[in-house]
């Protein structure tokens, strides 16, 4: 089966450009058919083998890799242990890094991508090893178009060069080899730079990728300068504009190094600046404006900038807290202890223990590690459950909230959950415009009972309270090394926040306030929706006026409402 000609032509053209200039950046292929990425890696290996003295190695950055695999690995060879560089460390010919599915790959890989791609220099400091290198690896990644909007925009920003391979039935690429290249790179003209800026829209990474692709095209065609024509050709290859053949156009003459030599059905723009183009380039959006990227977003190349995008919250943080983490790994490391298994082995303490006995065991010989030397990490006890309680005391006038909140407090008691309480709108607050938070090791903390009985105040900084609750949840569910597999967010409120977030932060209210306090609370609440392991509930008094506000808040949180009419 052969590839759709247009996609094949654009992919092969990009591979040829990337082979000669790593600065263009990684290639992200959307909806790639099985085998296409492997075929691209094989073709790129062939192209790079001509340019570099040695054949580049292809490494797979899969979901199973840890930070140790990427940066520094313990290896046993020649009868002894040694620390070896991880798969992303570059010391000779830059490797080809394949990411089979960007959406499913592990946090270690996406953190690596964010720090390495596009960087002037990369560094690794792990387990006694220090490495610094100029990243020149060629990254090839695949992703399903529908998954892009859920990925980190920060990560996707590192992948400005994208090709849609949706119509490609299989990955049978025919990449023409790179012929003789002149030593000099063609200088880029002012017109070409202006064209790149006009075409790429606002992002500088895409603009640079476009200009660099154009320059590579010019070099591949042995042009003396990189012109606006090359930029338009590059833009067409990147999917930013479309090339429409003129009815009366003569077939273009292609030399050995034309971009579309793999294509027979849709002639592409000729590459050589010496031969004037016979194609008309039409931007995907409205003419005369730098709308190419926005138009491309519509067709799906950049969905993360669209309004529907809902990326996972802080996806680049190490997911210490996942339900797959074994119980033995929970809690901060508090020391080491002897072990009889390899599980959670502490390598350095193990080696140190062996080193202590070396002279007695093998005088002058190699370091011998015996089972009695094995040490594992000792972990502290930590709660696995969390209750975040937001108490809006201004809604409590005439409402006894204890019966409503009791089930959650009982749950926290029986589960030995950690409790974070956020008080707002009470008379004894140090600052009435801000919510206050304290952490309790358990629900038995006497401060919690005091909180439940505070006298209502006047201002209701609900947005401030929700914002603090969000940070508290992030701290436990995303940032902590502590494993929390279930968290409840319980917000006791009528939803009538009257202090905007900016007023809470600045300590002064600038009228008119209007709905701002409510809208700020809803915006802050919406950020917790993607958090895994969280259940949210809004406990509200049954009131006639503004009765929809608790439901709006629950909708934003992705939770439910419990409305009660218990009176004191």
């Amino acid at each position: 089966m052969s590839m759709a000609p247009d996609a094949a032509r654009r992919i092969t053209a990009l591979l040829r450009c990337v082979a000669i200039d790593h600065r263009i950046g990684p290639l992200l292929v959307l909806n790639a058919p099985p085998g296409l990425l492997t075929e691209m890696a094989r073709s790129l290996t062939m192209l790079m083998s001509v340019i570099h003295a040695a054949k580049p190695e292809t490494v797979i950055a899969g979901s199973w890799l840890s930070e140790d695999d990427l940066w520094a690995r313990l290896r046993f060879s020649g009868g002894r242990f040694r620390m070896a560089p991880g798969i992303l460390i570059e010391s000779g010919t830059p490797p080809i890094v394949m990411v089979p599915d960007l959406a499913r790959t592990g946090t270690a890989v996406i953190r690596a991508a964010v720090t390495v791609l596009g960087a002037d220099i990369a560094t690794a400091e792990r387990h006694g090893r220090s490495d610094a290198w100029q990243p020149r690896a060629r990254w090839l990644a695949a992703a399903d178009r529908d998954t892009l909007s859920g990925l980190s925009p920060h990560l996707l920003d590192r992948f400005p060069v994208r090709v849609d391979a949706a119509d490609v039935p299989s990955g049978d690429l025919a990449v023409p080899p790179i012929g003789h290249l002149t030593a000099d790179w063609p200088e880029i003209t002012e017109d070409a730079m202006a064209e790149a800026l006009r075409t790429a829209g606002s992002g500088m990474r895409l603009t640079l990728a476009l200009a660099r692709t154009a320059r590579s095209l010019a070099r591949l065609s042995s042009a003396f300068t990189t012109t606006a024509v090359h930029v338009r050709q590059a833009a067409e290859i990147l999917g930013l504009i479309t090339a429409v053949p003129e009815p009366e156009a003569e077939p273009a003459e292609f030399g050995d190094d034309t971009v579309d030599s793999a294509s027979t059905e849709v002639p592409a723009a000729p590459v050589s600046a010496r031969a004037p183009t016979t194609r008309t380039f039409v931007e995907a959006g409205e003419p005369d404006e730098p709308v190419a990227v926005e138009a491309a977003a519509v067709v799906g190349l950049y969905p993360e900038i669209g309004p529907e995008a809902l990326p996972e919250i802080t996806p680049l943080r190490n997911p210490w807290a996942t339900t797959t983490l074994r119980r033995e790994l929970r809690g901060a490391r508090t020391g080491t202890e002897r072990t009889r298994t390899h599980f959670d082995l502490a390598p350095v303490p193990t080696l140190l223990e062996a080193a202590k006995h070396r002279r007695g065991r093998t005088p002058g010989g190699p370091l011998e590690i015996r089972p009695e030397d094995w040490r594992r990490y000792r972990h502290g006890w930590t709660p696995g459950k969390l209750l975040v309680l937001v108490l809006d005391h201004t809604c409590r006038r005439g409402w006894d909230w204890i019966p409503t909140l009791a089930p959650y407090l009982q749950w926290a008691y029986t589960e030995r959950a950690a409790v974070s309480v956020i008080d707002l709108g009470h008379e004894a607050a140090a600052d009435g415009l801000r919510a206050e938070r304290y952490r309790a090791a358990s629900v038995r903390d006497p401060r919690i009972l005091r909180s439940l009985r505070h006298t209502p105040g006047r201002a209701t900084p609900l947005a401030s309270g929700i914002e603090i609750a969000v940070q508290e949840l992030l701290r436990h569910l995303r940032r902590s090394r502590v494993h929390t597999d279930r968290a409840w967010l319980v917000v006791a409120t009528d939803g009538r926040g009257n202090v905007p977030l900016s007023a809470s932060a600045r300590g002064t209210v600038v009228p008119p306030v209007g709905r701002q306090g409510i809208d700020d609370a809803l915006s802050a609440a919406a950020t917790v929706r993607p958090l895994r392991g969280l259940r949210s509930v809004v406990a509200a008094p049954e009131i006639g006026t503004y009765a929809t506000l608790p439901f709006e808040l629950a909708d934003a949180l992705g939770g439910t409402v419990i409305a009660t009419s218990e009176t004191r």
């Binding site: 930070e67 620390m83 387990h127 006694g128 790179w185 800026l197 603009t207 350095v348 080193a355 938070r437």
Partner: protein
């Protein structure tokens, strides 16, 4: 490859980034400022600016703490390679390297992605400026570590922990400059730099390197001058009043303003610290100290804030 041999765009060719550049220069001239955080959206050349600055003033890249670093490399410990060979020696960690070899600069890219337990180590070391190394059989007390912390982050990935945010004396908020002339100049400079790496020497790059040398010398001289400058009582009172008016948490706000104003006076060649110096540095010194301590958020500096500050400065 060593960090020294990695080519970096000359500092004077970094277009825009005025606030970050000024903050870096201030923190270099007055290390008492303690650190600079650059926060801004993706693709705004934050890291390039920091590295270019370090290359200019240190002739080397800063000691860099990558987000995947292990604690043995941060604190120091046994030389693992030697240990595995059967030999024994210790190796300095990055904190100590920054103090000894890195001109006092410690750079953390994507600082808000740093694991919490690593943040704790840095906070402890930064707080006391002393690093007691008591681990794995190593016992070294009272090791002095003084460093200027430079961090870059993308706020889309979450806020910085408030305790760490507080350690940065200045915060530069980076926004993408969309002016056509600026964007064209960025493109021109980056492509000229590319061309030089590809073997086409550029007169502009050579001129920029000379300009870097001159600016580096100027900042070095300013660093010496700053040691001789002090803030008058009136200036100190102004710093405290500003900090109180903007409800800055703690007392680091006024200290940062005073130290940064001293640096600005030295860079500008003034013989005394004056209210305009204070006015210039206040937004950078206070922008991250006004949000509630629980959130680690950074409130933007608004025209209202600028007006309030101008009133205080005028009243001096």
């Amino acid at each position: 490859m060593t960090a020294t041999s990695v080519p970096i765009l000359p500092y004077t060719m970094v277009v825009g980034q005025d606030e970050l550049k000024r903050a870096l220069e201030i923190a270099y001239v007055a290390p008492e400022v303690k650190g600079v955080l650059a926060t801004g959206h993706r693709g705004t050349a934050k890291s390039t600016t920091v590295r270019a600055f370090a290359k200019m003033v240190l002739k080397d890249l800063p000691v860099t703490l990558p987000i995947g670093a292990t604690d043995d490399r941060i604190l120091g410990g046994w030389n693992v390679e030697e240990l595995l060979r059967g030999d024994h020696s210790t190796r300095d960690g990055l904190l100590l390297q920054a103090h000894k070899e890195g001109g006092g600069l410690l750079y953390i890219d994507e600082v808000n992605l740093l694991d919490d337990y690593l943040v704790n180590i840095i906070l402890d070391a930064a707080a006391g400026e002393v690093l007691p190394i008591e681990r794995e059989g190593i016992d070294e007390q009272n090791v002095q570590v003084k460093f200027t912390l430079i961090g870059t982050m993308n706020p889309e990935e979450g806020n910085l922990r408030p305790q760490l945010l507080d350690r940065f004396g200045l915060v530069a908020t980076i926004t993408e400059d969309q002016r056509p002339d600026t964007r064209l100049q960025i493109l021109r400079n980056v492509l000229a730099f590319d061309a030089e790496q590809q073997g086409s020497p550029s007169a502009e790059i050579q001129a920029a390197r000379k300009a870097d040398d001159a600016l580096g010398e100027k900042l070095k001289a300013a660093r010496e001058t700053a040691k001789t400058l002090s803030c008058s009582d009136d200036i100190l009172k102004l710093c405290a009043t500003i900090s109180w008016t903007f409800r800055a948490a703690g007392h680091r706000g006024e200290l940062s303003i005073a130290n940064a104003a001293r640096a600005v006076a030295a860079i500008d060649g003034d013989t005394e610290v004056r209210p305009p110096h204070v006015a210039e540095v206040t937004p950078m010194a206070l922008v991250h100290r006004r949000a509630p301590a629980d959130t680690g958020g950074i409130l933007p500096w608004t025209p209202d804030d600028a007006g309030k500050l101008a009133t205080l400065i005028t009243a001096t």
